[in-house]
């Protein structure tokens, strides 16, 4: 080895890497003998601060895909393997656009799942032009449906359903004051707008907007002190669960005894992990997954599969049960690459699919999965969850 000069070494290294690249490329080209592949695309934040959410949804999809493959997929007489192809977009809508193009044109995906409002909007501008693909949209922002995009299927319930019932739970007097501290993302702003509107309609007073970016703020104490100075009775919070928990804790430490109205991105079961659960008393939010009937087995299966002790939430479950609907629709449409036909088969497909909770039984014309029995929960002064029904608007 001592005779190996720097130059020859570099040459050898270069050749070795070219060889390696060639091998990798060759591997990518060959399929698995006899079976063809259905590629399901996925673009989300898989690295960086809020990556956990992207990974949760990804795990839900993967788990569903593994089960679908185990059962075997046969479409129009041909056997298929389903495969998830994921790309990281760090929740930047611009990157989502690039990722989606690549997933559709290079990987051949005809269904792409996107779990954030900004990315969904970016993809909606791309999916009915030169390229066609179906968006599995996981965000509760009702603006996704208002876009009237014929190739979008919205998976979770719209947050429009939650706002009024949440207000009814925590607004104890007519002229109650509302503090605003939801996250500054597009989703958080939409929640804030809707809540302000409904709060004012019911005669309440709305304090200054203190939406902060949960991802970048170094200390919540300042914004919390500012909000509390307005003496709010209720504070709207909500973004990724973990920073939301910290914000709630800070407000309680500074002496806030009123109620929290928690936007549906934050989940009670995750908040409990990140702050003393006592701080969450007197709050309203979406119901923890374990409280829904029939979710116990799913939670256990998931935790075993991913050897995870973290809470299993609705994001995971809803995506897990949505994926088979798309595969079923492909079977009915007898096509794996015609997004329009797959979308048309969705209303038929939802009927035959089983799920964990809040199982869809219809698809609206706008492409929203519908289910009965939506519930939310109020966590009372004793730390008990009081479930209550949410009436969903007809679409």
């Amino acid at each position: 080895m001592t005779h190996l000069t720097g130059r020859t070494f570099k040459k050898m290294a270069a050749m070795a890497s070219v060889g390696l690249l060639a091998t990798v490329a060759a591997c990518g080209g060959s399929g698995e003998g006899g079976e063809e592949t259905i590629v399901i695309g996925y673009s989300a934040g898989l690295s960086g601060g809020a990556a956990e959410y992207g990974v949760n949804v990804q795990n839900g999809l993967k788990m569903a895909i593994d089960e679908v493959n185990e059962e075997g997929v046969e479409i129009d007489g041909k056997k298929y393997q389903v495969k998830l192809e994921s790309l990281d977009d760090q929740y930047q809508p611009g990157t989502t656009g690039t990722n989606v193009q690549r997933l559709v044109e290079k990987e051949g995906a005809s269904v792409v799942f996107i779990p954030h409002a900004g990315g969904i909007k970016a993809a909606q501008e791309l999916n009915s032009g030169r390229t066609e693909f179906l968006i599995g949209a996981y965000s509760s922002d009702p603006a996704i449906l208002d876009a009237d995009n014929p190739l979008t299927v919205m998976i979770p319930p719209s947050f429009d359903s939650y706002v009024q019932p949440f207000i009814d739970k925590v607004k104890k007097k007519d002229d109650a004051k509302l503090g605003l501290m939801a996250t500054a993302s597009e989703f958080g702003q939409e929640w804030t707008k809707t809540t302000i509107k409904k709060w004012e309609e019911s005669g309440g007073e709305v304090l200054a907007k203190n939406n902060i970016d949960y991802g970048t703020v170094s200390d919540f104490a300042g914004p919390v002190a500012k909000t509390l100075a307005g003496k709010p009775d209720v504070i709207l919070v909500g973004g990724p669960s973990q920073p939301t928990a910290l914000l709630i804790e800070e407000a309680r430490e500074q002496g806030f005894t009123g109620a929290f109205l928690i936007a549906d991105q934050a989940k009670f079961e995750e908040l409990e992990e990140f702050t003393d659960p006592k701080n969450l008393n007197n709050s309203v939010g979406i119901m923890p997954l374990p409280l829904f009937e029939g979710t116990k087995d799913f939670i256990a299966d998931y935790q075993e599969k991913y050897s995870s002790e973290k809470p299993v939430n609705a994001d995971i479950a809803l995506n897990y049960q949505a994926l088979p609907i798309f595969i079923e629709a492909m079977k009915i449409a007898k096509s794996v690459d015609d997004p329009k036909a797959i979308r048309q088969a969705m209303p038929e497909a939802v009927k035959s699919v089983e799920g964990v909770f809040f199982v869809p039984n219809a698809v609206t014309d706008k492409g929203h999965l519908q289910a009965d029995g939506l519930q939310a929960a109020y966590r009372n002064a004793d730390g008990q969850y009081e479930p209550f029904d949410i009436e969903q608007p007809k679409e």
């Binding site: 690295s47 960086g48 990974v55 104490a221 300042g222 500012k226 002496g255």
Partner: protein, 288 residues
């Protein structure tokens, strides 16, 4: 009034963090002449190491911070030897690009070991104290006190100890210092070690009131650069005054104008100062 006191305490705590991070950055700039763009990532690593020593090893809080500071100081020496020393004769652009490489590397390593999600470090000291009606948590008082103590120790180190004096000598005149027998390589290593130890202490202090995530250094990085430009590149008093000025301006603008104004305030002050004094408040460093 209560609100003002509350926010002043919050501003001072934030200022302490900014100071510790900014001094490390300004030291490296003063001695080596390039901005360390990996500073935010090193801050993030410092927080994760404190978390590791506190939660997994079970050391007491203060010892955990010191342990993290020692590990990062050692890492500083390694980085200087492996990455920056071989580049000593290249243009400074190369150093900057190398620091970007270090940044991506550290973020990837942390993601690999601790995952991409948020981590919460339990606050080792709980409870608040009431100051003029405002509720100030003990953790924030600890931050302010520690920052002051560390700043005093650092001043002593730079003014009184041979290594510290060598750093100052190199900052003032690299060739002259070499002529009187100061070894620039040694000084580079010590500077990196001190800079990284300081940023680890800042991170260890902030960890209990913040969440740990691989991206936690990003926003700090930008603010800290604004601080050292405001104070004058390479200037220690500049970093201290800049740190507290920016932190208090940020908190007060957020309180009395709007939350969005807080972040804008940093850069409005920066532009105003640079318009009057382009080298920053204490700046003497010009393009070498």
């Amino acid at each position: 009034m209560t609100l003002f006191v509350q926010q002043l305490a919050n501003g001072l705590a934030l200022g302490g963090i900014y100071c510790l991070a900014a001094i490390g950055l300004t030291l490296v700039f003063g001695v080596l002449g390039f901005p360390n763009l990996a500073h935010g990532a090193l801050y993030m690593l410092g927080a994760y190491l404190t978390f590791f020593f506190l939660t997994d090893v079970g050391l007491p809080y203060v010892v955990a911070i010191l342990a993290a500071a020692v590990v990062l100081a050692f890492l500083g020496v390694v980085l200087e030897r492996l990455v920056f020393h071989p580049l000593r004769n290249s243009p400074h652009t190369h150093h900057m690009i190398a620091t970007v490489g270090v940044m991506f590397f550290l973020v990837a390593v942390v993601q690999e070991i601790w995952g991409t999600g948020f981590l919460r470090m339990e606050s080792p000291v709980n409870g608040q104290v009431s100051v003029a009606g405002a509720q100030v948590s003990w953790q924030r008082i600890i931050i302010i006190v520690t920052a002051v103590v560390v700043l005093l120790l650092l001043t002593w180190f730079l003014k009184r100890s041979p290594h510290g004096q060598a750093i100052e000598a190199i900052e003032q005149d690299r060739t002259g210092a070499a002529l009187v027998g100061i070894n620039p390589s040694m000084v580079s290593m010590v500077t990196f070690a001190v800079s990284l130890a300081l940023v680890a202490i800042a991170a260890g202090l902030v960890a209990p009131i913040n969440l740990l995530s691989p991206g936690m250094g990003d926003s700090l990085s930008l603010t800290v650069f604004a601080i050292i430009i405001l104070g004058g590149l390479g200037s220690l008093p500049g970093a201290i005054i800049g740190g507290f000025t920016i932190a208090i301006a940020e908190v007060m603008a957020a309180t009395y104008i709007s939350v969005g104004a807080g972040e804008a305030a940093i850069f409005i002050i920066l532009i105003a100062v640079l318009a009057i004094k382009p080298t920053g408040i204490f700046g003497t460093v010009t393009q070498r």
